[in-house]
């Protein structure tokens, strides 16, 4: 499996440019598969709306800060992806790991893309990185 995946695009070296925090905040866009991920994780519209409001905190994402308002984020090693951790406390269901990347076809509109998400208690290994790196590549190819 590893070889099969490496043959595609994961074998390429990804060079991550250091994004600069825009003064007016980031434009936020979401790709369709991400929307479908969230529909599967949260069946209720209300829960998805709350998640949406947490995602909008990314408008003020600063690569120099470890928190986005009150949410932790990390770089996913070996990829151009970042993860935002929307944890839920004191409840049975775990939080959500949101995958996002920076891609700004128009430099005057710095843009972050929400690529999707999975439950924090789900495995996040090579297979999942392949899926989200793939989505990020589609964004880079298609967004204009």
């Amino acid at each position: 499996m590893k070889t099969e995946l490496d043959k595609s695009f994961l074998g390429h070296i990804i060079v991550m440019k250091r994004p600069i925090l825009p003064d007016i905040g980031w434009q936020m866009r979401i790709c369709r598969p991400a929307f479908q991920d969230f529909q599967r994780i949260f069946q209720r519209y209300y829960a998805r709306s709350i998640l949406n409001r947490h995602l909008l905190k990314l408008r003020w994402w600063d690569p120099e800060e470890s928190l986005v308002i009150d949410l932790r984020w990390n770089v996913v090693p070996g990829t151009n992806l970042m993860e935002l951790l929307v944890e839920r406390e004191g409840e049975v269901s775990s939080g959500v790991r949101i995958l996002f990347c920076e891609h700004s076809p128009n430099p005057s509109e710095p843009t972050l893309w929400v690529l999707g998400g999975l439950r924090i208690d789900e495995q996040f290994g090579e297979l999942q990185r392949t899926i989200y790196s793939g989505r990020s590549l589609i964004v880079q190819e298609r967004a204009d």
Binding site: L5, I30, C31, P33, L67, E89, E122, L127
Partner: protein, 229 residues
């Protein structure tokens, strides 16, 4: 050249191609129209679908990625690819397929807005009352002044943990900042539990661990009628 003549073509692969359905032909056509990079993504997603250890969730994610790569579905007014996250909430409420649900969803969104406004007002009032600056509060709860400012201007909905941290820093009950805090958490838990068809091994383990934990001591106040003389 007619189809009959094509069928006589001495190639099994070519004959197999003629036998495929219209949908399969459409799929191949769309795949061929993609750039090399996107084709590479589609091939990787098929590898995920075929991988013996992929979970159902992984397969669904791979499948929706393939659909996204091959079947472009641009939104009107949202540009050619992707959707504007700031508009998606209201747009999807207004575009709900069941018309009667639109007003229900819209009311719930108004309710979220009202919760955030109420929180911002209460926090702002407490800061004035207790003569605490945004910087001081940020220091006490370990975030930036900018984060506090965003919460005060209703640009960032606080997490539950943040509400508890703020309450502790301001020495007030969390419900003074967010009156429906407990009710909302219980309703969310119940709803999530009911929505779960089956617990994952991790959830079952966490539930079992929770049931074995000693009960939390809750601070209580004696009711006047029970006070001893």
């Amino acid at each position: 050249m007619s189809t009959t003549e094509l069928n006589e073509f001495p190639s099994d692969a070519f004959r197999a191609l003629l036998a495929i359905s219209r949908e399969q032909r459409e799929f191949i056509k769309r795949f061929m129209e993609c750039s090399d990079e996107v084709q590479s993504v589609v091939r990787s997603m098929f590898a995920v679908l075929e991988y013996a250890y992929s979970t159902d969730e992984d397969k669904q994610r791979a499948f929706s990625t393939i659909a996204d790569a091959l079947f472009l579905n641009p939104e009107n007014g949202h540009g050619s690819y992707g959707m504007d996250l700031t508009r998606i909430e209201r747009d999807s409420a207004m575009g709900h397929p069941v018309e009667s649900r639109r007003s229900v969803i819209s009311n719930r969104l108004d309710q979220l807005d009202a919760q955030e406004t109420s929180f911002a007002d209460r926090l702002s009032k407490l800061l004035i009352e207790k003569n605490i600056t945004q910087e001081e509060l940020a220091d006490r709860i370990g975030c930036t002044q900018s984060a506090i400012s965003k919460m005060l201007t209703r640009n960032a909905r606080p997490r539950r943990t943040t509400i508890f941290k703020l309450a502790e820093a301001l020495r007030v009950e969390p419900t003074e900042l967010w009156p429906q805090l407990e009710v909302a958490a219980i309703l969310d838990s119940v709803s999530d539990f009911l929505a779960d068809r089956e617990l994952t091994p991790e959830q079952a383990k966490s539930l079992e661990a929770a049931s074995l934990r000693p009960p939390v001591k809750v601070k209580t106040r004696e009711l006047p009628s029970r006070k001893r003389n």
